[in-house]
């Protein structure tokens, strides 16, 4: 059976069993991956999945199910299991009917047949990245290269009916020198024509090479230059904390800030279900509402939260097309470009740190946005407008609300970022943030 037939069967079964609201999403995925380390392939992978996601509501009681066994026979049992389970739970005072269609969905438009073919030369791409890293000065290169193709369809009791198809290719490269310095490079694209493994390898290799002999440094307050990979990590948290569910639950630093200034004038953050070059998203959300452009922060002012039907009703708003049945979420985050070149940003810095990559962001207090994160790979001290020398062993310890109000510059160049540490696809610039606390292990 085709995925639309499976979804339709699930919808009809659930309705037959008395559900008043049903959303059935069926998705077929095909992922190919190569992982490599020390210039050598460690594993190749192919993962093929067919999955069904089913939301039902009956008597204001709500259930969600996900099954990787959506045969016609199993779908009937699964729908019945959900209905039976709903009978023992309490009705929700926050039950909200699914949106009523018919809807017209934006076309995704980014499906590259070449990425969906088995013949994609992933090994050649991986080799290109490794060779470029070595040529640029590294001695060993590691990484992960993945292509994915997804075909997805939705049908709901609200007469929503849609389908979408996407592809992407993600390369994450880390290059090392004998001196144990490292550099990081990414190439993330929805089309193979936009994919550049050599550049990712070269960037990683060059960063590794120029990071040799890190100097000692003092912990304290620095202006921080975040390259796009680091900006994307900060921004994905802003995106997540803009979910109305997180706000309503009481765990967001953006709570009670709508129409208030939360950042500098130069900072605008948008989310798109479908956008040119976007690595994620689709034309419809999990409730069948069309996805769209949503401005989260415009010229430093928080314009609103991301909603599904339930949160929208509670906040007196309309759905923004970001459902998650439970939790609305961003699809593709985009930071508007600034006016500056990276060189000009660096020239602005009297005493600062340039961070090319980071990981392990953790919050001490989600309501205040106090967090720390660890720069990794190439990191540099900037003095009087110039990169002075590499440094290592840093930790950024700050709060996101403070940082949003302390952005001094945003680059005009941006890059799509999605990798192990940044799961929400984000088009991110470099940024200059004033007076960031940088700490280190003093003992």
């Amino acid at each position: 059976m085709e995925i639309i037939e499976l979804a339709d069967l699930a919808l009809r079964e659930a309705l037959k069993l008395g559900a008043t609201d049903v959303s059935a999403i069926c998705a077929k995925n095909n992922e190919n991956q190569i992982r490599f380390s020390n210039n050598s392939i460690t594993v190749t992978k192919n993962i093929k999945n067919l999955e069904l996601f089913l939301y039902i509501a009956k008597d204001n009681k709500r259930m969600i199910g996900a099954t990787s066994n959506p045969s016609a026979e199993r779908i009937k049992i699964f729908a019945s299991d959900l209905i039976k389970a709903s009978e023992v739970i309490s009705p929700s005072s926050e039950y909200t009917p699914l949106p009523k269609g018919e809807f017209s969905y934006p076309l995704h438009g980014i499906y590259d047949k070449k990425l969906a073919e088995d013949g994609v030369k992933l090994i050649d791409f991986a080799k290109e990245a490794v060779d470029a890293g070595i040529e640029a000065g590294a001695t060993r290169v590691s990484g992960s290269l993945m292509t994915s193709e997804e075909e997805i369809t939705i049908i709901t009791s609200g007469d929503a009916k849609g389908k979408d198809k996407t592809t992407k290719i993600l390369l994450n490269v880390r290059a090392f020198t004998n001196e144990e310095t490292s550099g990081h490079g990414l190439s993330c694209a929805a089309r193979i024509a936009d994919f550049n493994p050599s550049e990712a390898g070269r960037v990683a290799g060059e960063y590794a090479k120029i990071s040799i002999n890190p100097h000692s440094w003092e912990e304290g307050i620095y202006d921080l230059v975040t390259m796009p990979t680091v900006t994307a990590d900060i921004v994905q948290h802003i995106g997540s904390f803009s979910s109305a569910f997180t706000v309503d639950a009481g765990f967001s630093f953006l709570a009670d800030k709508v129409d208030q200034k939360v950042g500098v004038d130069e900072f605008t953050l948008r989310d798109y279900g479908v956008v040119e070059g976007g690595l994620g998203g689709r034309g419809f959300d999990d409730e069948g509402a069309p996805t769209r452009e949503n401005i989260i922060i415009e010229k430093g002012v928080l314009k609103g939260y991301l909603h599904n039907c339930t949160t929208a009703r509670k906040f007196g708003k309309s759905s923004t097309g970001n459902a998650g049945i439970i939790e609305p979420h961003p699809w593709n985050l985009i930071v508007d470009p600034g006016m500056m070149s990276l060189d000009n940003i660096i020239k602005e810095v009297k005493k600062g740190i340039l961070v090319t990559n980071n990981w392990y962001t953790r919050f001490q207090n989600m309501r205040t946005g106090e967090y720390s994160t660890i720069p990794r790979d190439a990191t540099f001290l900037i003095e009087n407008g110039k990169i002075k020398h590499p440094v290592s062993g840093l930790r950024i310890s700050d709060s996101i609300p403070r940082q949003l109000n302390s952005i001094l510059g945003i680059s005009k160049d941006r890059r799509w970022i999605e990798w192990w540490e940044v799961s929400i696809p984000t088009l991110a610039p470099a940024m200059l943030i004033k007076d960031v606390t940088i700490t280190k292990a003093l003992q």
Binding site: E31, Q33, I34, R35, F36, S37, N38, S40, I41, T42, V43, T44, K45, N46, I47, K48, Y55, R62, M63, I64, G65, A66, T67, S68, N69, F78, D81, S86, V88, S90, S92, E94, I123, A126, V130, S142, G143, S144, M146, R174, F176, A249, G250, F251, I326, Y360, R362, F363, Q364, M366, R367, Y371, I374, R376, G393, R395, W420, T439, L442, Q443
Partner: protein, 480 residues
């Protein structure tokens, strides 16, 4: 689960030219309930079932997974896996060779007294409503205005077979609870997790886990203590002091600062592009990393533990692994591939979290071994110090050398006694300094459950982290 399907898969892989093949049918059934400020969110049912296959051809490893279990489909993905493995030779500098291990034929299951399959949503929501009732009005004059309570069950069933003759069938049920709450005082709001540090209460077993974990008592006690955190504004001391870490903190340290760097795949660089590498090198067995009082172990065989298993996903028997003994690195965590490279036998650390994830080296239940001190004895000769009982924010670099733990519930120690609370003391320290500073350990080990992230695509492994109260001498703490 279709044993014949596994046998046919392994046989066909060998016929196609694989020098090694394994196949694993892996089924995970989950349920989850979420109560947000007393309102039930949609309850969740998950049902994942499929097959994961690994083949090695000419030293090259390929993994394939599908949830279409028709033989026609499996034949196709198997043929492609063998083809991919053979085609990898142009970028293959290091061949994958597995250690020789005894072939096991075994059926095993984790202890389960009240079947997890009989736990209904009414039970899970009832548990959450009881907890909600306990904490919503707060204690010590402070309320918890926001409460997000989550209960989960999981049933993991696997059947595994490899071309070395192993055949293992297993069944592990698990039950878990975690929560996020906020507390406010005079305009200040603090977000807290119970248990602290974004961890969970969780064990393997059936509904009896709720009683065994004493979930209600645990949450009540934690809530009472944490309600006080928001009222406290005392900065930690700037001078060098002695520090006693509570079990939650010593547990996360065991996991982050000993368990992860002791994973042999990280040491060999195989996780370099994602989870990172290790400060430890291949020849660091026997390296003195800490004081005579530093002891860390990892043991998958602890009855009822969240990371419980008896055989890993390469068919190797699980056993306790001694990672640090009297300050000396004793053992790394191995799968069969790293074991071969190190010239040892696998110690059974290879796990996969789903049919569509390859088995990789994982911790199970990592903990600091108990000593022989009571908490009073640990405190008694401390003139001035800090007791960091729990934490929220933490992180560690990708070599596991430079780490930080930020206290949540923390107290001043004065003349051997616990005094008033202190706000967010920061232990930011290198791994050698940390382990070298340990001079005494408490008698009682406590565990919390956690999900450990590693792999690409990401795999979240159920683990326990644990330890006793642990004393560190002469530490400088930071502050926000």
């Amino acid at each position: 689960m279709d044993e014949d399907l596994l046998r046919s898969t392994v046989d066909l892989a060998q016929k196609l030219g694989a020098e090694y093949a394994e196949a694993r049918l892996h089924k995970i059934k989950t349920t989850g309930c979420l109560l947000r400020n007393g309102v039930p969110e949609p309850a969740m049912i998950g049902d994942a079932y499929g097959i994961g296959i690994r083949v090695i051809c000419s030293g090259s490893l390929a993994f394939s997974a599908t949830n279409d279990l028709s033989w026609d489909n499996i034949k196709v993905i198997l043929e492609k896996a063998v083809k991919r493995a053979k085609a990898s030779s142009s970028l293959l500098e290091y061949k994958i060779i597995l250690s020789e291990e005894r072939a096991i034929n075994e059926d095993w299951r984790a202890e389960e007294k009240k079947s997890i399959e009989n736990v209904g949503f009414e039970d899970l929501f009832e548990m959450l409503k009881n907890i909600e009732y306990q904490i919503k009005d707060g204690k010590a004059g402070v309320a918890f205005p926001n409460r997000l309570l989550v209960s989960t069950t999981l049933l993991e069933e696997k059947m595994y077979m490899n071309s070395n003759g192993a055949r293992i069938r297993s069944r592990v049920p698990r039950l878990g609870f975690y929560s996020y709450v906020t507390t406010s005082y005079r305009g200040k709001t603090v977000t807290i997790t119970i248990p602290s540090g974004y961890s969970q209460l969780g064990e393997s077993g059936g509904w009896e886990v709720v009683d065994r974990l004493k979930i209600y008592e645990y949450v009540q006690k934690e809530a009472e203590n944490l309600a006080l955190v928001v009222k406290n504004d005392q900065k930690p001391p700037k001078e060098t002091v002695d520090v006693v870490l509570g079990p939650d903190v010593s547990g996360i340290i065991a996991h982050e600062s000993s368990g992860h760097p002791g994973e042999a795949d990280r040491i060999l660089g195989r996780e370099a592009a994602q989870a990172g590498e290790s400060y430890l090198k291949s020849d660091d067995i026997g390296l003195k990393i800490g004081s005579e009082e530093a002891y860390v172990s990892d043991d998958p065989t602890i009855l009822h533990s969240n990371g419980f298993y008896l055989y890993d996903d390469e068919g190797v028997p699980a056993r306790k692994r001694i990672l640090i003994e009297a300050g000396v690195i004793r053992e790394f965590l191995h799968n069969r591939s790293t074991a071969y490279e190190f010239g040892v036998s696998s110690n059974g650390a290879s796990r996969s979290m789903s049919y569509d994830r390859e088995p990789i080296i994982r911790m199970a239940n990592t903990y600091i071994e108990p000593g022989d001190y009571s908490l009073e004895e640990l405190l008694e000769d401390i003139k001035s110090g800090v007791y960091i009982k729990s934490f929220m924010e933490w992180n560690i670099d990708d070599k596991r050398f430079n780490q930080r733990y930020v206290g949540l519930e923390a107290y001043m120690i004065e003349k051997g006694e616990i005094k008033g609370m202190v706000r967010n003391p920061i232990l930011e320290i290198t791994t050698p300094k940390l382990w070298s500073s340990v001079d005494a350990r408490g008698k009682e080990v406590e565990f919390v459950a956690a999900t450990c992230g590693k792999g690409d695509p990401m795999q979240s492994a159920p683990v326990w982290t644990g330890g006793p109260d642990m004393r560190l001498r002469a530490i400088r703490l930071g502050a926000r």
